[in-house]
């Protein structure tokens, strides 16, 4: 079992290396880095501009929002970098029938799909996210102790797992729908937009949807609240990992069910 895990890990690494090198064959590959930098800067710019136009909301300042938002974006970016293959899977692999080829190989399907794509520039998002979170923490005057760093790291890990779960879930459902998966943006790019809204002002329906259906608040808001002491129960901040893992488990079930029911498409 252990040896097998190591072997799969090696394959995963090889895949990433291959994608990295092939991507760098393009003359303009470094432009991709700038491009994602622009995404990362432009994403929160709407929020920053809103604050500059409207001023603070009660005790909520830009730094509060940016901290919660950055945690969500960074974990989304991590998942996007590591599990990119699942993101592309329904559109490219399934519809073209390339998936049949993977089924023939005596290797873990999960690793093969997860590593079927990798873009270096995706890593820009988590990196800038973490920097933004650091800026927000210093702006809020929070001094980092090892315990707090652990909470934040757990939030990132839990968020990464949760978003991997989102990608796996859509791939699993794609076996049944083939096309028509635009709703996935609800769970990816639209989901972290919700963190732009200060939690106390969020309508209850949205709040419960993003804590119990997709545990968005558990991986961004509650850890931030615990670290900065915004008067929420301390233990809520520690729930990021279990919440993310639960979501991933559910997605893996759907994925396995899908693989079992797979009938080839394409040629």
């Amino acid at each position: 079992m252990k040896r097998r895990m190591i072997a799969e890990g090696k394959i995963y690494y090889k895949y990433l290396q291959m994608h990295l090198l092939s991507g760098m064959e393009y003359k303009g590959w470094w432009l991709m880095l700038i491009q994602v930098l622009v995404v990362v800067i432009s994403d929160p710019i709407a929020t920053v501009l809103l604050f500059s136009r409207f001023g603070n909301i009660g005790e909520w300042t830009v730094a509060h929002i940016i901290l919660v938002y950055a945690l969500a974006v960074a974990s989304f970016g991590l998942a996007e970098s590591l599990c990119r293959g699942f993101d592309y899977f329904p559109w490219q692999m399934l519809r073209s029938g390339d998936f049949d080829r993977l089924l023939l190989r005596p290797r873990s399907l999960f690793v093969q799909v997860a590593a079927s794509r990798f873009h270096l520039h995706r890593l820009v998002r988590p990196v800038t996210g973490i920097c933004a979170a650091g800026w927000a923490l210093s702006e809020l005057g929070v001094s980092l102790t090892p315990g707090k760093i652990a909470i934040l790291a757990m939030a990132l890990a839990g968020g990464c797992i949760m978003y991997c779960g989102v990608f796996v879930l859509t791939s699993g459902l794609a076996f049944f729908t083939i096309k028509g998966l635009d709703w996935i943006y609800l769970l990816t790019n639209a989901s972290y937009q919700i963190t732009r809204c200060p939690e106390p002002y969020m309508p209850r329906a949205l709040k419960s949807m993003f804590s119990f259906v997709l545990p968005m608040l558990f991986i961004s808001f509650y850890p931030a609240a615990t670290v900065c002491g915004w008067g929420y129960p301390q233990w809520l901040g520690y729930l990021s990992l279990p919440a993310g893992a639960a979501f991933l488990c559910f997605s893996l079930l759907v994925w396995r069910f899908g693989v079992r029911h797979y009938k080839s498409t394409g040629s």
């Binding site: 991507g23 003359k27 991709m32 710019i45 909301i57 609800l186």
Partner: protein
């Protein structure tokens, strides 16, 4: 080749792509879902800012809350025109070398692709935008899309929305022409598409950007994608300002078409067909 047969070819291309787009109804429905959800989040956010923020009441930007909410819904409706990627069929043709086959057709490549990509864009999206806008009307009072500011404003909105479609198509073709230079990869095209998206006003109404940027935001080409038509609808641009605004959209379309054509012709002279 004469003009009439070009027109005939274009209209059949248009019909084929439209029919193809309509086949994926599930895709259109889930698209509406996303737009509506996104719209709702934006509405909540703006309501919070207008109601609770320090200077929400006197922020002096020319957009009231109800106008902003109408703006959000209409921008969601028009957003589908600005595809964030090049038409996938054309893209794969560029990547696998089918451009060579396309060049054998007795039809100007630019015209051909222009029709193809704009029809592809319209194929599913008119349904999606109509459904989004309709849902906007049906929302509960605080979050609903309001009626147009005036009848004349509505007419200007329709005219400007059509112009926005032309503008988006010509910009998409401009980007495609740049993408023909395959050795550069996706970087430059993504960046162009991204900038256009941000500056189109669908991220944040351009009126809510800082005051010193307003002149620039008005004159830049991407406001014509969504901001100008929507502002005509909600009345923050009066019908008397419609003519120059639509003229601006027209001007930028012409610029994009001319430069797209030039780049493409230039590139096709020295094209190296990839793959086989």
């Amino acid at each position: 080749m004469n003009f009439r047969s070009t027109c005939r070819a274009c209209s059949s291309l248009f019909r084929i792509r439209m029919a193809e787009g309509l086949q994926y109804r599930a895709s259109a429905i889930s698209g509406v879902f996303v737009s509506v959800f996104w719209g709702l989040i934006e509405c909540v956010l703006f309501t919070v800012f207008y109601t609770y923020s320090d200077n929400g009441a006197w922020n002096n930007n020319g957009l009231a809350l109800s106008q902003t909410i109408s703006y959000v819904w209409l921008a969601q409706g028009l957003f589908v025109l600005q595809t964030m990627s090049i038409d996938s069929e054309i893209m794969s043709k560029i990547n696998n070398g089918d451009v060579g086959v396309e060049l054998c057709r007795p039809l100007n490549l630019y015209t051909h692709w222009f029709v193809k990509s704009s029809a592809g864009k319209l194929g599913t999206s008119w349904l999606r935008s109509l459904a989004t806008i309709l849902t906007g009307f049906l929302m509960p009072a605080g979050y609903a899309l309001g009626a147009p500011a005036s009848v004349l404003g509505f007419a200007c909105f329709l005219l400007s929305a059509v112009m926005a479609f032309v503008l988006c198509s010509s910009f998409a073709m401009f980007v495609t022409a740049i993408r023909l230079n395959i050795t550069w990869g996706d970087g430059p095209t993504y960046m162009l598409l991204l900038f256009s998206g941000i500056l189109s006003g669908t991220y944040l109404p351009l009126r809510l950007w800082p005051d010193f940027m307003q002149t620039f935001l008005y004159l830049q080409p991407f406001g014509g994608f969504a901001d100008i038509p929507v502002q005509l609808y909600v009345g923050s641009l009066t019908p008397s300002a419609a003519l120059p605004a639509i003229g601006l959209q027209f001007f930028w379309s012409a610029v994009f078409i001319a430069s797209g054509r030039t780049i493409m012709d230039h590139k096709l002279k020295s094209i190296i067909v990839q793959g086989g």
